[in-house]
């Protein structure tokens, strides 16, 4: 994509303009050119700087306009040429519209009023700060031809992935073949040697009859006793381990209906956990974000970047764009507006405390100021969400024994905190010392 801008920057017309500005002697020449420019729209389209135009477009226009897709406002690819061809409107009209669309509408301009009605009567934000040069830069950017989708690159990427998969399989296959050949060779060698021995009349010595190993073992009572004790201890260990993990879902990693990557959202893009799980601040549950929270960003992000897409395909074999499409289907978004046809996403709950245990998120997150990662692990690195902590009672109690409570600036309880500190003879109180181990705190 960048290449096309660079080539435009190297555009001979663009360089020529600079030369014209530099040459002071040929005033008449430049005057002629200015006249020429003002009469020819096709030439005007090229006198801006598309690179600067891109940054201006991104910071000013992109909130409501895309180049190739309608958003809050119409798509703007080739807007100048389109307006000139279809409506016969020149740059002066466009400039007036950009700087203050309301006054153009008020003046009774037919097309301006039609445009406003067409786009739900939402007026365009005025941009009085944009200079003539700014506007021509932006228009030069919109006049740039649409970049061809990079099909070749994607294909080679896919090819590379596949070849790497094939090469792994090939290596494994070759190794298996090698081992099979070796085994066969050994078998053949053994057979021929035996045949040689037979031919030469050498008797292969028969093994002496000895007491079999297992009989000797059974006869040795001490060994039997030791083995029995070891066996019992070992099985006790494993049986205990098996029963202790019943009902513990540590590592539970279900397949969700939409492949949502915490790594991309919370890790790469650094979105705060509480942006989506906002009820963790104020309520018992952290909540599963409703789809309108997704749409806060995904209204304008309908496709991931090419790098992210390639990474998803090669490393996680996930088509991120298809996953965003699943969100759109669920929320009923057709690219410009809500269709009203929505259906719930059946997310699978991962962290689930038994019904007899009480846990409150806001108490830990907001009052205790505990990082989400303390219990949920490195979520910002998880491509697929899984349960990091065992969520057993022992695990809760252990943290309550070790964690100090921040009692500073909590004037209401200052006295009781001081008395407790004196009672336990400590500087800082742990949760356990403040009653965090009482049964009724979590079970009632």
């Amino acid at each position: 994509m960048k290449k096309s801008y660079q080539s435009l920057e190297d555009n001979p017309t663009y360089n020529m303009k600079q030369v014209i500005y530099c040459s002071l002697t040929s005033k008449i020449f430049s005057l002629c050119l200015v006249l020429l420019l003002s009469f020819s729209t096709s030439l005007i389209a090229q006198d801006g700087d598309p690179v600067n135009g891109k940054s201006l477009f991104n910071s000013n226009c992109a909130a409501c306009h895309k180049l190739d897709k309608p958003m809050t406002g119409p798509a703007l690819r080739n807007v100048e040429a389109r307006l000139a061809d279809e409506q016969g409107l020149d740059r002066a009209w466009i400039s007036a519209w950009i700087r203050n669309s309301a006054s153009v509408i008020k003046s009774g301009d037919a097309y301006a009023n039609k445009l406003l009605a067409e786009w739900n009567n939402v007026p365009m934000t005025p941009f009085p700060q944009l200079s003539d040069q700014n506007i021509s830069d932006i228009l030069a950017y919109t006049a740039a031809p649409k970049p061809e989708p990079v099909v070749v690159e994607g294909a080679t990427d896919g090819g590379a992935v596949q070849t790497s998969g094939i090469s792994n399989d090939l290596i494994l296959g070759a190794l298996a073949l090698l081992f099979a050949l070796l085994a066969m060779a050994l078998f053949l060698v053994n057979k021929t040697l035996n045949r040689f021995a037979e031919a030469k009349g050498i008797e292969v010595e028969a093994e002496n009859k000895r007491t079999p190993l297992w009989k000797a073992f059974v006869q040795n009572q001490f060994l039997v006793l030791v083995t029995a004790v070891v066996f019992l201890l070992a099985s006790g260990y494993f049986v205990y381990g098996f029963f202790m993990q019943v009902g513990v879902d540590q590592g539970y990693e279900p397949v969700q209906p939409i492949h949502y990557s915490h790594r991309i959202h919370a890790g790469d893009n650094g979105i705060d956990c509480k942006y989506c799980h906002s009820s963790a601040r104020v309520s018992k549950t952290s909540g599963i974000p409703s789809l309108n929270v997704c749409m806060n960003c995904h209204k304008s992000i309908s496709e991931v970047s090419e790098d992210t897409f390639a990474e998803g395909m090669s490393e996680h074999s996930v088509d991120y764009n298809a996953e965003i499409q699943k969100l759109y289907d669920a929320v009923g978004w057709d690219g410009t507006g809500y269709t009203g046809e929505s259906h719930p996403v059946k997310w699978i709950r991962i962290h689930n405390l038994p019904d007899f245990a009480y846990f409150n998120h806001s108490q830990h997150v907001e009052v205790g100021g505990i990082e989400c990662q303390t219990c949920h692990g490195p979520v910002e690195e998880m491509e697929i969400m899984y349960q990091h902590a065992p969520l057993t009672m022992g695990w809760c109690i252990n943290c309550h024994r070790e964690t100090n409570v921040k009692v500073k600036d909590n004037e209401y309880y200052t006295k009781i905190h001081e008395e407790l500190s004196k009672k336990y003879g400590v500087e800082e109180l742990t949760v356990a010392q403040m009653g965090g181990l009482e049964c009724g705190k979590c079970h009632y």
Partner: protein
């Protein structure tokens, strides 16, 4: 040779049993529970499926016109262009100046707004610098000339590409954020 075959089959059976045992412990399924009677709730859980309602969800919207308990004041300005213009001109912050807590407002701003609008309000948040979301204006933008009322209206209903934040922030929090945004705007215009 015959005995060897027998031993081999034994080994294979034992191995097969071990493999099937290990494969039972799969992470895509929840673990077994011992007597789950007290683990599973009897009442409906949040977001649970339910046949009781036509759309099959336990979670329902409150009946139309219902209001939460406590000192709740409905926001009566519409989500229209006229509503926005009205709010921009007339709406003021109901919180006393003494109760405005810039630390709290700043914290909430950092969670919900800074990711796009930038922690200084210059429109250069992380999502913008990574070119994920474009066109985020600075609060000091001349053409927009934001006011207390227009900030609140935008926060409440959303505007253009920005969505509504009414379900993530309650009324008091929204006004704290509005106050913080005004502070950022004043800092930018210095």
């Amino acid at each position: 040779m015959h005995i060897n075959m027998k031993i081999a089959t034994k080994y294979i059976v034992v191995l097969g049993l071990l493999v099937s045992l290990v494969s039972c412990q799969e992470n895509s399924r929840p673990n077994y529970q011992y007597m789950p009677n007290m683990y599973e709730p009897i009442g409906y859980e949040t977001y649970q499926e339910s046949d009781a309602f036509p759309n099959g969800k336990q979670g329902q919207l409150p009946a139309e016109g219902s209001i939460p308990r406590g000192d709740f004041m409905p926001f009566e300005i519409d989500n229209t262009v006229e509503g926005f213009t009205f709010a921009k001109a007339n709406l003021t912050n109901p919180i006393d100046a003494a109760d405005i807590d810039y630390d709290r407002g700043g914290e909430l701003y950092g969670i919900y707004c800074g990711i796009c609008h930038g922690n200084k309000g210059d429109g250069k948040g992380k999502l913008v610098s990574r070119e994920k979301i474009l066109g985020v204006p600075s609060y000091a933008d001349v053409g927009r000339a934001i006011t207390t009322g227009s900030i609140y209206h935008t926060l409440y209903y959303g505007k253009n590409t920005m969505g509504s934040y009414a379900n993530q922030l309650n009324e008091e929090e929204r006004w704290q954020v509005v106050a913080y945004v005004e502070k950022l705007k004043a800092d930018l215009e210095k």
